[in-house]
Amino acid sequence: MALSSLHLRDADLSLRDRFFRLSWGYILLICLVAITGFVVLYSAANGHWKPWAAKQFWRFVLGFGVMISVSMVGLRTWLKYAYVFYALSLFLLILVSVFGHIGMGAQRWISLGFIRIQPSELMKIALILALSRYFHGGSLQDAQSISYLFVPLIMVAMPAVLVLRQPDLGTTILLTAGAGVLFFLVGVQIWKFAALGGVGLLSIPIAWRFLHDYQKERVFTFLDPERDPLGKGYHIMQSKITLGSGGFFGKGFLQGTQSRLNFLPEKQTDFIFTVLAEEFGMVASVSLLVLYLALIFYGYMIAFRSNSYFGRLLALGLSTNLFLYVFINIAMVMGLLPVVGVPLPMISYGGTVMLTLMFSFGLVECVNIDREVQIGRRGAYDD
């Protein structure tokens, strides 16, 4: 196949061509993380596929289909519909705040009958897509002028406020941090971040008043988990005990007393990392982190092989977003960050997150497939 053409268009590649241009190494890494997830969920259920591992497997299969489908759509098409996708996600977010069901004490999802949609998860992708498109269209000088940043800041602020009101602090942090990374990547001056940080620090006392009591409690607990070991500090204390008692080599598969005897509530979701760390020790916790880093850096590699600024920024943004997930979750279970409710990607039990992640992997694959495609500032084939 003559793929060195400078004027390659989406239409130039058949679906068959696209399929064979998929990065199988990237997919292999994704599968390795997913398999780790099945094993840990199997163990978390005391050696049973039910109720978690089996369901997670089928979600992965579904997610795999989503990933391939997403990668089959051309990169230009994603660019073209980026704002539409963002608008749709924003609309759904507004919808949940009006009609959303109450789940876990917060309004988070819309039921379509056969499937429940969490618009905040869709927004994680939509925001990165929309911002990538926005910055694709500007110059470095644009990116460094304050007036040019007004629109993307609004694009971040609207969903962030909506999600925070749900209230979902974890997703808000991921949304704003993920967007922040994009601002950083496109070259917004460091001093602007510092200034924003300064303003943020000054507004903490004001923001504090808007936090829910349970969120305040989480901050207190983070600051001193041992002051109330049976109450609010219970999760963090037990999480650290679970991790620490695993030692270097772990207690062995299905031998984790902390997880088997339920000392860790909700171990199948946000605290799943400790189940792995207890049974397989530091060897496994470091290995998993390295595996994630491999997946993330593979994404960066794909980004830098792309000829389009949009493609690069998209792959960089999505991969960095994955890193944020991993870092916040692991730091949280190890007591380095407050418990904010961020899952461990691909391993924590949960459907929407799995599908969103597979969606984003599909986009990275899409960048990979269309790496030769050049895209003009306004999305044309050439300038």
Binding site: G244, F248, G281, M334, G376
Partner: protein, 620 residues
């Protein structure tokens, strides 16, 4: 290539490199934290995880059994069946299970309410007790219907049972749930549900011996405390077996003779001090305290004027009356104010100071020697010798015999009684000691107060040639039955012999005041002394109107009847005191009771038989 990609692309590359660098640093921080938690602090967290997982539970040791001196059981542990419900196993329908159970075991509304409340309060896998102490029939019926009773289980435990019931209530005492204070300062074992401790009597006195050492059970538990499996088990040590010095057969006969009176009886081995009999009546069934006492029963026990809960042997205080006359006589003889052959005339009354004292026999006894005075229990004789001896010397002699102080028996609740002196009256009552007080003390009335146990110790000392024994309820392992265990009182053997002769006459002389108590068991005779003490002062008017018979008086105004005795008269071995509250005359009520108990003791002769402890030791 588009120009805009130049600077913009370079910036993107530079910032991406910075991002990668930042991510590597952050990952290094995570790995450092992993190393800290999983390697450096691993041991601490492993310990914490074990503490989470392992729960150590206490196992109650079986309480030590109590036997009489020949190995007859006095306190046992009985299998106690209780029915419990585990709510998570009721197939989600506690009410249906309870209704099904009620067809076999009727439950009151109150009980059902309590069960529902407890079920709500406890975890759904914790058994909640529905009822304890099921009968065998009830238990069998429940087990037979088990398939229709989901969640209902039968649990076995041990509960204390006293087979002799009322006969040993005061002596053995009973067990009960520990009080808040006991739980606070006691070992954690006391916190076990259903764990009982000694509350009174031997159960209280020997609590440490009877309790045993708790066992432990190490179990694996999950986060909500459900037991997953047992890891190890140490049964602990059962409480020690406690053989008492009591002979159950003597206790039986004493109860038969006394159960309708309000009184007490105690018998000592005069050499070893072993208590062979200790009875207080009326009694109560100590099993009621284990199996639950109704409000009415409790009210009856606490308001009964005969005071069933009091152990009168140690806790009852009485004027010793004429049983005290030997002490007065010994004090007078030792002081030299009277010799054995000194005669004193009794005309029925005597005026001392400005008070007229009467003899119990209004017509008088005429001229009497000391021995005759004891036999007749003449009051005039003892007023006179008491006056001559003086209160200080009488009091000192009484104290040598143990009056006014606890005997030191190994049983709680003992009272010291009172042996007055001049100083005591001045200090406590703020009054001058009068000569009349000395005379009253001379016949064991007035201020002097003694327990039946002190009277038995006195009788023992008279019988064993002047040794004050310490009463004991347990048999020592190195028991020597033929050795004095008491403290020598340094009394004249001749004087003691005279006392015993006087006491011999009381029973065996046809003119004695307790002729009714005479027995002859294979040539063995007994000696003793009566005592009748006024509860109410006799007024001059009553005396002029003629004294009414005791039977005509209301119960609570009748005299107390006392009796001390020892036997056999040759080589004595047993000392006994009997007190019948409001029994009328010492000779007429207390005497026959003492006689029958003594007859049984002389027949059985328990002091010379090997005890349970010693037969077991030598393997016979």
């Amino acid at each position: 290539m588009a120009t805009y990609d130049g600077d913009k692309g370079k910036m993107l590359t530079r910032r991406a490199a910075l991002t990668v660098g930042g991510e590597l640093v952050m990952s290094a921080v995570l790995m450092g934290r992993m190393y800290y938690l999983q390697v450096l602090e691993a041991d601490r967290y492993k310990t914490l995880a074990e503490e989470n997982r392992i729960s150590t539970r206490l196992l109650a040791p079986p309480r030590g059994l109590i036997f009489d001196r020949f190995g007859k059981p006095l306190a046992e542990n009985r299998q106690n069946f209780r029915v419990q419900v585990i709510s998570e196993q009721t197939e989600g329908n506690l009410n249906a299970t309870l209704e099904a159970l009620m067809k076999i075991l009727p439950l009151s509304d109150g009980e059902i309410q309590r069960i529902r409340k407890e079920v709500r309060r406890s975890r759904n896998f914790t058994p909640v007790t529905i009822r304890e102490n099921l009968t065998w029939e009830e238990m069998a019926a429940i087990q037979l219907n088990a398939p229709d009773l989901p969640g209902i289980i039968i649990d076995e435990g041990l509960s204390r049972f006293y087979p002799m019931k009322e006969k040993f209530a005061h002596l053995i005492g009973y067990v009960g749930a520990p009080s808040e204070a006991e739980i606070e300062k006691g070992p954690p074992l006391l916190k076990l549900p259903g764990f009982y401790v000694g509350k009174t009597g031997i159960e209280l006195q020997y609590e440490n011996k009877l309790r045993g050492k708790e066992g432990t059970q190490r179990v694996e538990v999950n986060a909500v405390g459900r037991v997953i499996r047992e890891i190890e088990r140490d049964e602990g040590t059962p409480g020690a077996v406690l053989p008492l010095s009591i002979d159950m057969r003597l206790q039986n006969i004493a109860y038969e003779k006394m159960k309708d009176y309000s009184g007490s009886a105690v018998m000592l081995d005069i050499y070893t001090g072993e208590v062979l009999l200790l009875m207080s009546t009326p009694s109560f069934n100590p099993n009621s305290f284990t199996y639950g006492l109704s409000v009415d029963e409790w009210k009856d026990l606490t308001t009964n004027p005969k005071n069933p809960l009091l152990n009168k042997v140690l806790g009852g205080l009485y004027s010793p009356g004429s049983t005290f006359k030997m002490v007065v006589a010994l004090a007078a003889l030792e002081a030299g104010v009277v010799r054995p052959d000194t005669k004193i005339n009794c005309s029925g009354h005597v005026v001392i100071g400005n008070h007229r004292f009467h003899c119990w026999k209004g017509s008088g006894h005429g001229d009497l020697t000391l021995r005759e005075a004891l036999m007749h229990s003449c009051d005039i004789y003892f007023y006179e010798i008491a006056r001559r001896t003086g209160i200080e010397k009488i009091s000192a002699m009484a104290r040598r015999f143990g009056f006014g102080a606890v005997t030191g028996i190994d049983l709680a609740g003992e009272k010291a009684g009172l042996m007055p002196t001049r100083r005591w009256k001045e200090l406590v009552r703020g009054e001058q000691w009068l000569q009349g007080d000395t005379c009253n003390t001379g016949i064991g009335q007035g201020y002097v107060l003694a327990t039946p146990l002190q009277l038995a110790v006195m009788a023992a000392a008279l019988a064993n040639d002047g040794y004050k024994v310490t009463p004991r309820l347990t048999v020592p392992e190195n028991r020597n039955p033929n050795e004095h265990s008491g403290i020598a009182l340094n009394l004249s053997k001749a004087h003691l012999q005279l006392m015993r002769e006087g006491m011999f006459d009381v029973i065996n002389n046809p003119k004695g005041t307790a002729r009714v108590a005479k027995i002859d068991i294979n040539g063995k005779l007994i000696a003793g002394k009566t005592g009748t003490t006024q509860v109410k002062r006799i007024t001059i008017k009553e005396r002029e109107d003629g004294l009414r018979s005791q039977d005509e008086l209301p119960w609570e105004e009748r005299n107390h009847a006392l009796f001390v005795a020892f036997g056999p008269t040759e080589n004595p071995r047993y000392a006994l005191s009997v007190v019948i509250e409001h029994g009328g005359g010492g000779g007429t009520t207390a005497g026959p009771v003492a006689r029958d108990i003594m007859a049984e003791a002389l027949k059985l002769d328990p002091a010379f038989r090997p005890t349970y402890l010693h037969t077991k030791k030598t393997g016979k």
